[in-house]
Subunit: 222 residues, 2 copies
């Protein structure tokens, strides 16, 4: 009596999908190898690869800053999820203290005047190393200013120890129009959204602050 | 007999941190409100806010593309974590099939020739809606090309239904030097890293493909 081999080819019953799925045949502008030759695709890529980009092309709708930090990913996560640390690495958000609402903190943003209240909640996912800072000026009911972070092991993506931090803000419509002008610290105070065009600069400064502070504390400062 | 009030002020025992922590007093280049006035800070921000940026300034070390997609975050997550779908929305990665190693898939990348093998593992975190595609050409032992994704609820960050997808690649040193040239499909084949300078274009095309396909399937295509 012979025994059938127990090894099975894991791909034996795999059927590849069709080269062009039926419902995609008429979608305008899809760029796929089956329907756009390598030569055409590279020519198209060359047109998108401009020597220079305008500020709005890059930072009009989404503002992402990146930084390599020579500190362990878990240490970066722990630092970013502690609301007391905004005092150190941000330019102007200060003195977050607990409110009656669990997880909601109130502080000051001294960016444009001395009286502006800022509310904050930090949502972190320790497994994914994501950190979302949800905030708003003047009121804590709707936290629409969202600072989205991911911390990545630099070992994985750059082949060296440390962390990569990716930090994104999205152009929420409230930046263009304050939903609660009556809550401003004074009628003359400019709106936070008036500084949207400086978010790349402001967040680049702050992610550089973050790098300097964490590398100082971890003994890895250049 | 009177009863003490049970309400306690959650901030009553909160002591604000020092305005400038001792160890940060001598760190060069930290930009904080206590030591750099608003006028100086805004002047500095203005110098960083250039009218145009070169390609390398924006995409030299990190290539991030963003897209709004009018489909639910969970649907975007489900689509991105299914390796069969790379057949549809990528330009040239095709026919991923299981290997003997659980979770590791092998397919073809037709970007530069017809013979190049590509290996892939997809790590998703369903709570954080992160999706990391770890791949490599020619071998599946070290998956150093990492496609980092976050899916965000557009309700949270843009005040409307749908999703924002943030997709980042980092400039791993292997892009500059193939660690295994002996495994190439032919000695003449260019290296994947030779196309690093086209990653913005390539990934913009692919995230636009993703938007078109998902909005078609969700009945929200413009």
């Amino acid at each position: 009596m012979t025994t059938a081999p127990t090894h099975t080819d894991p791909a034996a019953d795999y059927t590849p999908p069709p080269a062009v799925p039926d419902d995609l045949k008429d979608v305008p502008g899809l760029l796929r190898w089956e329907t756009t030759s390598r030569e055409e695709a590279f020519a198209h890529a060359a047109t998108l690869t401009k020597e220079t980009f305008t500020y709005d092309e890059v930072y009009g709708q989404f503002v992402t800053v990146h930084q390599y930090i020579d500190a362990p990913p878990q240490a970066v996560y722990d630092y970013l999820t502690d609301e007391r640390n905004l005092n150190e690495y941000t330019y102007s958000t200060r003195d977050f203290a607990p409110t009656d609402t669990p997880g909601l903190y109130q502080g000051r943003d001294t960016l444009l005047d001395d009286e502006t209240k800022i509310f904050l909640r930090i949502d972190g996912n320790p497994d994914a190393l994501t950190v979302d800072m949800k905030c708003a000026w003047d009121q804590g009911e709707e936290l629409w200013m969202v600072y989205i972070h991911r911390i990545i092991s630099a070992e994985t993506v750059l082949g060296k120890s440390g962390s990569v931090v990716i930090w994104t803000n999205c152009h929420h419509p409230y930046y263009d129009k304050n939903p609660h002008p009556e809550l401003a610290s004074s009628p003359e105070r400019p709106w936070v959204g008036d500084t949207w065009g400086l978010f790349y600069a402001g967040h680049k400064v702050e992610i550089d602050n973050l790098k300097k502070i964490l590398e100082l504390r971890h003994g890895t400062a250049a």
